[in-house]
Amino acid sequence: MVRIGLLGRGFMATVHALRYAEMDGVCVVAVASPSEPTRFAAEYAPDAAVYDASVEMYDKESLDAVDVCTPTHTHRELVEPALERGLDVLCEKPVERTLSDARSMADAVAESAGTFMPGHTLRFFPEYAKARERVHKGDIGSPGTARTLRQSPFDERSDWFADDEKSGGVLLDLAIHDFDFLRWTFGEPERVFARRKRWDDHEYALATLRFENGAVAHVDARWPNRPDLSFHTRFELGGEQGLIEFDSEDVSPIEVSSKRSEPARDPIDEPLEKDPYRLELEAFVECVRSGREPPITIGDGIESLRTALAAIESAETGRPVAPEEVSA
């Protein structure tokens, strides 16, 4: 039995807890959050012990691994004590709010017997993975352009998202999904130029990335305070020999409209045998069991963070920024 300590009680903690509950040989034995996760645990991990302080949980519980689903700026202070105790760590993206904190975590990973996997879930989405596979098999020839869209509307949300110091805003929290996917598919970006607009509670950002291979990507990330809009993703990957397109609005393999329906308990429900979050957790648990290197490393997490921080710096300074220029 792999014994997991879950940190956090928000949206992603819910998504993870529901999936652990379905997996064999895995158990969330404890939940920690400074804001009394009693209610969360009762609903999603009824057998788990509940802690206000994560370090207390690390010391009192016999854990194999921890899953960090807390606000971005808290990752280092939660991850490092876990690594020091030799625990394996799954950590939500972005790995941290600043590069220096992320680097400190990387040092802790290097010194620890535990392993570390950043939760760049998009790599487990079959539509994205299949597109990357087709690009690498040569369907579009050598890459030239990419456009991505990620619109994540909200109604009410935790305060830390709106606090730039904690979340890094839409460029760090949301656009990083596409930055990581593009790095994974096209290679490293040479420079980033970004513009950002905030009004009322909305935040929109448009970034252009130039890659070492000459390709140019346009990343469109949106946080509209418009609960009437849908969660929407789209991408196009173009090369001199072809084009691959995807639009989540075109995907509708199953729809049920009913007078009797009640809202689903699971906030994300993909019509797949195992959805991307389940695949991500399975990949992590497999690393915990085997001691193998995770499919996504702290190095990947740092490079994707650097790309996002370069975009933020560009939006603030009005000039293109190379990820390698980002120092803090």
């Binding site: 079959p126 539509e127 993975a129 299949k130 597109a131 087709r134 369907d139 579009i140 020839g141 001199e240 020999q241 072809g242 084009l243 691959i244 397109e245 995807f246 075109d250 995907v251 509708s252 393999p253 199953i254 729809e255 049920v256 409209s257 009913s258 007078k259 009797r260 329906s261 019509p271 797949l272 045998e273």
Partner: protein, 329 residues
């Protein structure tokens, strides 16, 4: 526990898919393939990197076998397998006549072997979701069902026999009726009670129907139509479709089993779509492996196959008589 499986005949276009799945499966010992056409079988064995065996030798060493022959000789292969006590997964339709389908079901019963039909849609995740919603009562009582299962005509030529009545037993009715009929039966638990068919041939040089539009009723008196035509133009961007819309007193379900695709444009090759969803054939084979291991009925059984062949027969009879044909159970 591991089971030994083989393939009987390589006429069908799905042979390669099954061969690679059998070879890759950790609980399966893929014993090899045989064929009534030895040359074709030898070539296939080489292509799929497996052994070519005489039918008797294959059946001696197998626990179960997949019949991938032309439609009209399914019965011969199933009878041989049953004789050796080998469980059978048979390509669809189970047979081209009700008489053959009944004989196939009977011989497997007598021989005490399990019989399944290659029906992938009950293993489609969207279809499973549809069934779960239906069984949870989300749409109330069923009133109307509308299905489509269209295809490229060009795929019929891949095997050289799919549109040749001597081997296929018919055209689009024979080929593309059973999938959605099976899906409706599986989701709703109802049977087809009446069939009216409008059949036609729109492509030149074809000796069978490529237009297959069926209007049916279910035992619960709902109405159900199915368009299973080979009508997709060669330049359409996908091989076809498999959709079903179920409308009930309290809501509706829309399932489009293959609507998880990327759109791909390639220089000189035009536009097509690349599927990224779960592959139903994986579940189909898994079910058969488990059925052989535990000696249980496959999810889609020979009895299901027989009932679906009766719908095919009723469609052809309706076409001949120009009126609806009832099916008695």
């Amino acid at each position: 526990m591991s089971v030994s499986l083989g393939i009987l005949s390589t006429a069908h276009v799905h042979t390669g898919g099954f061969a690679s799945r059998l070879a890759a499966h950790e609980n399966v010992e893929f014993v090899g393939i045989t064929d009534e056409d030895e040359k074709r079988g030898q070539e296939a064995a080489e292509e799929y990197d497996t052994a070519f065996l005489e039918p008797g030798d294959l059946l001696e060493s197998a626990d179960g076998a997949i019949v991938c022959s032309t439609n009209t000789i399914h019965r011969e292969w199933v009878e041989r397998a049953a004789e050796y006590g080998v469980h059978v997964l048979c390509e669809k339709p189970l047979a081209t006549t009700v008489e053959d389908a009944r004989a196939i079901v009977a011989i497997c019963e007598e021989a005490g072997v399990q019989l399944g039909v290659c029906m992938p849609l009950p293993f489609s995740i969207p279809a499973k979701r549809a069934k779960a919603a239906y069984e949870a009562g989300e749409i109330g009582d069923l009133r109307v069902a509308v299905g489509t299962n269209r295809a490229w005509l060009r795929d019929r030529h891949l095997t050289g026999w799919s549109a040749d009545p001597e081997h296929s037993g018919g055209g689009a009715v024979m080929d593309h009726t059973v999938h959605i009929v099976n899906l409706v039966r599986w989701i709703t638990g109802e049977e087809i009670s009446e069939v009216y068919a409008e059949l036609s041939t729109m492509h030149d040089g074809l000796y069978v129907e490529d237009v297959n539009v069926l209007s049916m009723t279910l035992t619960g008196e709902s109405i159900f139509t199915l368009d299973g035509s080979w009508d997709r133009p060669d330049d359409w961007d996908y091989w076809g479709d498999a959709t079903l819309n179920l409308v009930g007193t309290d809501g509706e379900i829309r399932v489009d089993c293959f609507d998880q695709t990327l759109t791909r444009t390639r220089e000189g090759e035009g536009i097509d779509r690349v599927y990224w969803g779960e592959i139903p054939d994986d579940g189909l084979l898994e079910d058969f492996v488990e059925a052989v291991e535990t000696d249980r009925k496959p999810l889609v059984s020979g009895e299901d196959g027989l009932r679906e062949v009766r719908v095919i027969a009723a469609a052809y009879e309706s076409d001949e008589r120009g009126e609806p044909v009832e099916i008695e159970y």
